[in-house]
């Protein structure tokens, strides 16, 4: 007793709980030691520990495989709660790789990046892809529009297919899913994301893997604990950048003498003078409206403040034989465009169960429903808004139902409708349902053998309704066309209304069998896997529509004025089967060879080309474990060198594309019967997949025990046999010929660096990270007689240049590149060449910067991104110039001016710099002229460079002392966060976010053009309360 009491006197009991930072769940089995001693214990299944420590003990060390070791000071109260952060750098960490197989990081001979949940969800982005922006070297995320649920394009290592899909393959719980899933799963449910940058690591996924892969694993319940979590986020959304407009001049169209026109949208009128002027034509009852002739900011106020609410809950539990994870999310948003709304519900149930006979089963299921209610006329209303003269208070016309000056008859403008009315009259309502499910059945008959059978289903159902409201103009309105300049269609044409209903469904069923063998043979660690998979995709799209509605407000194809509705149906079924094998040989843990081979059979290819084989191999070497003097080196903690080669095929053709088709044409079908037209495309009878061959090498290093970590990769790929429809002479009877031709080469460097300059036992930790990507590609060749390939939107592939490039019209220029002007009029002239190349439209240099500062339970994070090395074409710019609303049109105050960087002919073949010949006019005659300014593409090309603060967040885990001793709430976290907070653009960009893009994410390789279809970029800011029960 004495002895014991002495011990008691000299020591004290310390208790506490250890949790994981990522999910806040307790961590069992964590080793807890008194720092500098061997005295220690392990945490219980509920993450708790009790340890008797000497009085002299100052701090405890917490260590656990896969997590960074933490040292925490023992406070006077004797309660030490530790939060462990997972260690994504440790080479012994086991990660998920292609095919659902696992590997240690050290054995991966190709570039990968791990993203942990904490990093993913810190900005509370709703779309998983948005949440990855700036965080992964080599990964380019473009949010291609604003709107209630922005579409995202996700590309690894640049574009390599001219016309095929270049977006990364998305794998969710070992099942390949459509990219749209990224916007329709709950980021809170994600346990881990592995980004496989190149085809090498992903080759096992088959012909979709040439674009790299993003492997997402969702959460499972943890053994021995039951945790209930709930959180609520509120955020606001606000336009962050407006196009730059002129504020000096109001309505008018006249050249030379500026003259006010009360019904005009063009803004080439007199300078604002503040006097009251009549706006628009009198109403039928004779009433008129007047406004002060001065600029107001109503065009910017048109965009509303968005509001988002996100509610989450999850329940996770587990015991020795089973686990479950059940979660739900409800997200609701009101957009910045008046009337636009969106909501989303996600429900997930995951579970595992160990059965007898060494069999275990795991399942993942998820159901998502989202609902859009938005205008289908975003481009129309945005154009109408920008066509609004500065003196018009556009926000006064919101009530188009009761305000006679706001309705379609009374609106002041002879050519454009009220944007509020347009937004309300043209609607699109979409409901998407996603069901995802997978079941993994595993059998481990022997220690060295594992058999896995996996079934997955991805089912999507969409119903979509587009409506245009019916209305009739009054006779008075229709007669307005006889006044003055004459009114446009908006004042003469009745709207008969339309309704179009789509029902689209897709289902993908996958089935996979894997047999894995693993054995240590002396110094060799050998594993091999053989697998076979089947995949079936079915899609069915149906549409029924009518133009000509019977009644206002009744949208049903049954209630129409036309004798028949129009309809269409498209059904497709494609199948793929594959066998693959992987062999992995490790030698003494520091040298690893990984070889994969896969043979695909695709139903969409010609029978003789249906089967194709592609291999990949990579090698990793860890000198820090192989070479004696590097072992336990105090500076270089670990170093991995890696290299790999790969070949992957991608079949870039649609189902049934091999056989030319006949379709109804020339108005057919008529009531008199059918009539069919031969299609205009010839298809090569020998179409093959596009083949991407490539190699990469790189290194990953940790210094000073992970305080500095760095990674660098160089890659080069070459994609040949591009599937391209080549235009052919119409006189051949056809217009295009689909064949394999052309080659695109890509190369690039991906680097990342993470430094922890401050890490103290008192809880301070500062982490600074950066990733830099240089990516370059080049069209090596196209087909014979194909000098360039149009991708659409003025975007081209041109041999010898990067892909893609933007082309367009330009002025006639002298040999020095100066614009040639007429010596008398000062006017430039439009060159007849329409294929001037202005540059590539894909960012070639990207820098992501990450910042994290921790102090105990406080965490401040920020992600910034810089992109440069590309140009963007603003298709809106022309509209701004034509309407006279753009800032450019007032640079010279509507006076005559000398065109910068211009020259005129000296009459003898030379050119004299123009310093004094001013344009004959500086108003409408210049800015709306297709010969001088308007729609001359070179005027609307701008640098795509941008710096932006992607996200910033501050979170605080409320200490137990504040939560108190009540039984219910175990933990609470409060956070504030913002996304897209700041955007810095070069002076040449007076338009919008250069990331925005008018083509959609699906197969939209024609990047680099933005239009009025993209509303102004927005920022989000919000706050979250998370509770753990």
């Amino acid at each position: 007793m004495l002895c014991a009491s002495q011990v008691f006197a000299q020591s004290r009991t310390v208790t506490g709980t250890v949790t994981a930072k990522d999910d806040g769940l307790p961590l069992p089995g964590v080793t807890v030691k008194v720092a500098g001693t061997t005295t220690g214990t392990q945490t219980s299944p509920s993450g708790k520990f009790t340890l008797s420590v000497p009085a002299s003990a100052k701090s405890l060390t917490f260590s656990f495989v896969g997590f960074t070791t933490e040292i925490v000071a023992i406070p006077a109260g004797g309660v030490v709660n530790a939060v462990l952060v997972s260690d994504t750098r440790n080479l012994s960490e086991v990660v998920v790789t292609a095919g659902g197989l696992t590997a240690t990081k050290g054995s991966q001979g190709y570039a990968t990046t791990s993203i942990k949940p904490e990093v993913l969800t810190q900005g509370k982005a709703v779309n998983v892809a948005s949440a990855l922006s700036g965080k992964v070297a080599g990964l380019q995320i473009n949010t291609i529009s604003a709107g209630v649920n922005p579409t995202v394009r996700i590309v690894l290592r640049g574009n390599r297919s001219l016309l095929g899909n270049n977006q990364a393959l998305i794998v969710l719980d070992n099942i390949i899913v459509p990219n749209s899933i990224l916007g329709n799963i709950n980021p809170e449910d994600i346990d881990d994301i592995q980004v496989l940058n190149g085809a090498g690591g992903a080759a096992l996924y088959g012909s979709d893997a040439s674009n790299g892969a993003i492997i997402i694993t969702t959460k499972k319940g943890k053994k021995g604990t039951s945790v209930v979590k709930a959180s609520q986020t509120f955020s606001g959304e606000h336009v962050s950048y407006y196009p730059q407009l002129q504020t000096g001049f109001g309505s008018g169209t006249a050249s030379d003498v500026q003259e006010y026109l009360e019904t005009e949208n063009q803004q080439f009128g007199p300078a604002f003078d503040g006097k009251t002027r009549i706006l628009g034509f009198p109403l039928v009852d004779g009433r008129t409206q007047s406004v002060p002739y001065q600029y107001n900011d109503s065009k910017n106020k048109f965009w509303e403040t968005g509001a988002n609410s996100q509610s989450d809950f999850s329940v996770s539990s587990g015991d020795d034989n089973s686990s479950s994870y059940i979660a739900g999310q409800y997200y609701n948003t009101k957009g910045t465009t008046p009337g636009d709304k969106y909501n989303r519900v996600v429900i997930r149930a995951n579970g595992t169960r160990n059965l007898a006979n060494k069999i275990s089963v795991a399942y993942n299921t998820s159901y998502t429903q989202n609902n859009y209610d938005q205008t289908s006329a975003t481009a129309g209303l945005y154009d109408q808004l920008q066509q609004t003269p500065g003196q018009v208070v556009v926000t006064d016309y919101k009530d188009y139902q009761n305000n006679p000056f706001a309705d379609i008859n009374g609106y002041y403008n002879f050519y454009y409708a009220n944007p509020y009315f347009t937004a309300a009259n043209q609607r699109q309502k979409t409901r998407n349902n996603y069901f995802l499910g997978s079941v993994d059945l595993k059998w481990d008959p022997f220690k060295f053998l594992n058999v896995t059978f996996r079934n997955g289903i991805t089912s999507t159902n969409q119903v979509n309704r587009n409506t245009v409201g019916k209305y009739s103009l009054t006779a008075y309105t229709k007669n307005l066309r006889t006044y003055g300049e004459g009114a446009g269609g908006v004042k003469t044409d009745d709207q008969v209304g339309s309704v179009s209903d789509d029902a689209n469904s897709t289902s993908r069923i996958t089935s996979e069998l894997q047999v894995s063998f693993k054995k240590q043979i002396s110094d060799f660690n050998v594993s091999a896997t053989a697998g076979a998979s089947l995949r079936q995709d079915r899609a069915d799209n149906e549409n029924i529509q009518t133009t000509g509605l019977l009644q206002e407000g009744l949208y049903n194809v049954g209630a129409r004025t036309q004798p028949n509705p129009l309809g269409s149906q498209n059904y497709s079924l494609t199948r793929q089967q594959a066998v693959y094998g992987v062999v992995n040989v490790g030698y003494k843990g520091y040298l690893n060879l990984h070889v994969t081979g896969r043979n695909d059979w695709l139903s969409i290819l010609p029978v003789q080309n249906q089967s194709f084989f592609y291999p990949a191999a990579d090698l990793s070497f860890i000198p820090t474990e192989a070479i004696d003097f590097l072992k336990n080196n105090k500076v270089l903690s670990s170093l991995k060198l890696r290299a790999g080669v790969s070949k992957v095929g991608q079949a870039n053709i649609n189902a049934y594309a091999l056989v030319p088709t006949f379709s109804p044409a020339a108005g057919y079908p008529f009531p008199s019967g059918p009539g069919y037209n031969q299609g205009n495309r010839i298809v090569s009878p020998d179409l093959k997949p596009e083949i991407t061959k490539g190699y990469e090498f790189g290194a990953d290093a940790d210094l000073y025990n992970g305080r500095i970590s760095a990674s660098v990769t160089y890659y080069k790929t070459s994609t040949t046999a591009q599937t391209v429809p080549v235009n052919i002479a119409v006189s051949s009877g056809f217009t295009s010929y689909l064949l394999n031709t052309g080659q695109v080469d890509n190369q690039g460097i991906e680097t990342s660096l993470s430094v922890v300059p401050i890490k103290t036992a008192t809880g301070w930790q500062l982490t600074l990270g950066a990733n830099f990507t240089w990516s370059d590609n080049k069209v090596v060749s196209l087909a014979e007689n194909l000098p360039q390939l149009s991708i659409g939107n003025g975007i081209y592939a041109v041999p010898g240049l990067g892909y893609p490039v933007v082309e367009g019209s330009d002025y006639n220029r002298d040999p020095q590149g100066r614009i040639i002007v007429d010596k008398q009029t000062g006017y430039p002239s439009l060159s007849s060449v329409t294929t001037n190349i202005f540059g590539n439209t894909n960012a070639t240099k990207r820098l992501g910067a990450n910042f994290e500062l921790r102090y105990k339970s406080l965490r401040l994070t920020a992600v910034a991104e810089y992109r440069t090395g590309f140009v963007v074409y603003s298709n809106v710019g022309g509209s701004y110039d034509f309407s006279g609303s753009g800032a450019r049109t007032a640079y010279y105050n509507r006076d005559r001016f000398v065109i910068p960087n211009s020259s005129y002919s000296d009459g003898a073949g030379g050119y004299i710099a123009n310093t004094n010949v001013v344009t004959a006019g500086g108003g409408a005659e210049f800015w709306t002229s297709t010969q001088y300014e308007y729609n001359i593409a070179s005027n609307y090309i701008y640098s795509g460079a941008s710096w932006r603060l992607r996200e910033a967040a501050l979170s605080w885990d409320v200490p137990k002392s504040i939560i108190g001793r009540q039984k219910y709430v175990k933990g609470a976290t409060i956070s504030v966060q913002g996304r897209n907070l700041l955007l810095w653009l070069p002076k040449s960009n007076v338009y919008t976010d250069p990331e925005f893009n008018s083509t959609d994410s699906n197969n939209g390789n024609a990047i680099g053009v933005n239009t009025v279809g993209q509303t102004p970029p927005t920022r989000y800011y919000g706050a979250t309360l998370s509770l753990t029960f």
Binding site: F517, A530, Q569, A655, L658, F662, F670, N680
Partner: protein, 585 residues
């Protein structure tokens, strides 16, 4: 390891077995037709020919080049059609849509034989192909013919000379006619309709009357198609009649010409309805769209064309009301080409050519029982009207190609013009009595040899054109010009080029010796002379030729980029179609 590889091999064997081949055999298109019988393609090809007819007639080809149309008030664009300075982007539809149409006829030809059950399909496709190619030559001169329409076998077809294409087409017609005349058998596939619906949308392969041995099996009698083919050949022979290179060929063909020409309007009507893309192409383009909104308001009738109705050149209130919408009884919807003042009257909603029932008021209903040019959305599309047939015969009789009285055929042509315009949408003559209307017309213009054939041989002192034959030709061409106004306007442009005669004038400006063709313009393009000249007053063409009109339209840019080695060098002013009678400069 060995086990693994065994497993791998077994899996491989399984995958490559025939069972798996079946698994992959799912690439049969369930959505679209991949093989089509000729009777499925023929109706569409004929309806596409109707659309093509409007492409050539429309404002940016025939109506403009023929002088029928001008820009409307306050309208920008179409600049090249005001200045006649064409580039490779203008009127491309004439080229592209014709070859698209030809591809379908070629498909029918490739899948049928000159004998056997599909012989009539074969003949009709070859006739329509000949029509397409000759119209293409009329617009472009040399075109790919012998190497064309071969798909991947010839991606860059060589060009054939326009004369060779014409010869080949006329020879084809020679071969088709006897093929059509071969009596049908009971197994011959009917052209009129099958279980799927109507095929011969020109409604020309009728029953053949009760005396026919095939009575009761409609769609096998080709007699009307034969008349149509004869008329097409007549038109082609007239076009080459003055071409020295083809003199021998012309004489041979003259001998084989069967003098039995169409006496009914050749129209195509697949059953147009008031729906998107299913309206009559002419009505849709210039009257109302399917929603009932006014179609293109960018054009107005030319002052030059209106002057044939309003009394300036001729007085024709009868047809004037059937062709043009009037404003309180006046022809106020008109403009001179290129005149761009914003004070100009706008094109009325519904089109200046939509005369409707009430020629004085505003026609509103799209289904109004119209007459004239724009009858209704479901009217047939003119391919070759009876009136044209008679004017072709009149000219042929005049030049000795066929026997007959040119004056009588001339009168039949004018009466047939009234007859077509008097017809309502159902084809019933209801707006007037053509013969009475002709008499009134003759009375109103009894002093003009352009109407009164009795004056052909007796020129008045004021007439510049004093040669009896030339006066007759001028009258025939002028009346054909009036009759085909907005119906087959490209014939106006063709006849201008073909009958160009530097020593003739037109009534109204007798003192001016003008380098123009028959009803056509003087070079005086002043606003004051607008009724007598269809040259734009806004004229920037640098053609050295006195008429200042375009030589031709140009090959589309796609030919220069995709058929580079074959496309001929072309000067827009001096590279003329082979039968063009104008000087090159």
């Amino acid at each position: 390891m060995k086990k693994i590889f065994n497993a791998f091999i077994i899996l491989g064997l399984v995958a490559s077995s025939t069972a798996c081949k079946k698994y992959l055999d799912v690439n049969t298109n369930p959505n679209e037709v991949t093989t089509a019988t000729p009777d499925l393609v023929m109706p569409q090809a004929l309806a596409a020919s109707a659309a093509l007819s409007q492409t050539f007639n429309g404002p940016t080809y025939g109506m403009d080049l023929g002088g029928y149309v001008a820009n409307a008030g306050g309208v920008g664009g179409f600049g090249n059609f005001w200045t006649f300075v064409f580039n490779n982007g203008d009127a491309n539809a004439c080229w592209n849509n014709t070859y698209d149409n030809l591809q379908d006829y070629q498909y029918i030809i490739n899948n049928t034989a000159t004998t056997g059950n599909y012989k009539n399909f074969n003949a009709v496709a070859r006739l329509m192909k000949a029509i397409d190619f000759m119209r293409l030559v009329d617009a472009y001169g040399d075109v790919p013919y012998s190497q064309a329409l071969k798909g991947s076998a010839q991606l860059q077809p060589a060009y054939d000379k326009g004369t060779d294409v014409y010869k080949a087409c006329i020879t084809e017609i020679d071969a088709i006619i006897p093929q059509m005349q071969v009596p049908a058998t009971l197994t011959t596939i009917a052209l009129s309709s099958n279980a799927a619906g109507k095929i011969d949308v020109t409604a020309y392969s009728g029953d053949g009357g009760t005396t026919s041995p095939l009575s009761g099996t409609t769609g096998k009698d080709m007699s009307l198609w034969v008349k149509f083919a004869n008329t097409v050949k007549l038109k082609a022979l007239i076009r080459i009649s003055k071409v020295a290179d083809l003199a021998a060929f012309y004489n041979t063909e003259k001998g084989t010409l069967i003098k039995d020409f169409t006496t009914s309007d050749v129209l195509i009507n697949p059953g147009y309805v008031q729906q998107d893309g299913k309206q009559n192409p002419l009505f849709n383009a210039l009257a109302f769209d399917y929603k009932g909104n006014g179609s293109s308001s960018s054009f107005l009738p030319s002052t030059y064309a209106v002057a044939f109705y309003d009394g300036t050149k001729l007085s024709d209130p009868g047809r004037g009301k059937l062709v043009y919408r009037q404003n309180a009884g006046a022809y106020s919807y008109k403009n001179q080409l290129g005149f761009q003042s914003t004070s100009l009257v706008a094109n009325p909603t519904g089109g200046a050519w939509y005369s409707g029932k009430d020629t004085g008021g505003n026609p509103t209903g799209v289904a109004a029982e119209g007459y004239g040019v724009m009858k209704a959305f479901d009217q047939g599309q003119p391919i070759l009207l009876t009136t044209e047939s008679y004017f072709l015969q009149a000219e042929a009789a005049l030049i000795g190609l066929i026997p007959g009285d040119p004056a009588a055929l001339f009168k039949s042509g004018v009466v047939a013009s009234f007859n077509y315009l008097d017809k309502n949408r159902a084809g019933v003559v209801t707006a007037g009595t053509p013969s009475t209307q002709f008499d009134t017309y003759l009375t109103n213009n009894s002093g003009s040899y352009l109407v009164n054939s009795a004056l052909w041989a007796s020129p008045a002192a004021a007439d510049y054109n004093r040669d009896a034959t030339q006066r007759a030709l001028e009258a025939i061409i002028t009346q054909k010009y009036i009759a085909l106004n907005t119906l087959n306007s490209e014939e106006g442009w063709n006849d201008y080029r073909r009958t160009y005669n530097a020593n003739l004038s037109i009534p109204g400006s007798p003192a001016k010796p003008v380098p123009s063709g028959y009803p056509f313009s003087s070079v005086d393009n002043s606003t004051a002379n607008a009724p007598y000249s269809f040259a734009a007053n806004f004229q920037t063409n640098t053609s050295p030729r006195a008429d200042k009109l375009a030589g031709r339209i140009l090959y589309p840019a796609s030919e220069y980029s995709l058929n580079t080695k074959n496309v001929p060098a072309t000067n827009p002013n001096s590279t003329l179609v082979f039968w063009d009678a104008r000087p090159k400069n």
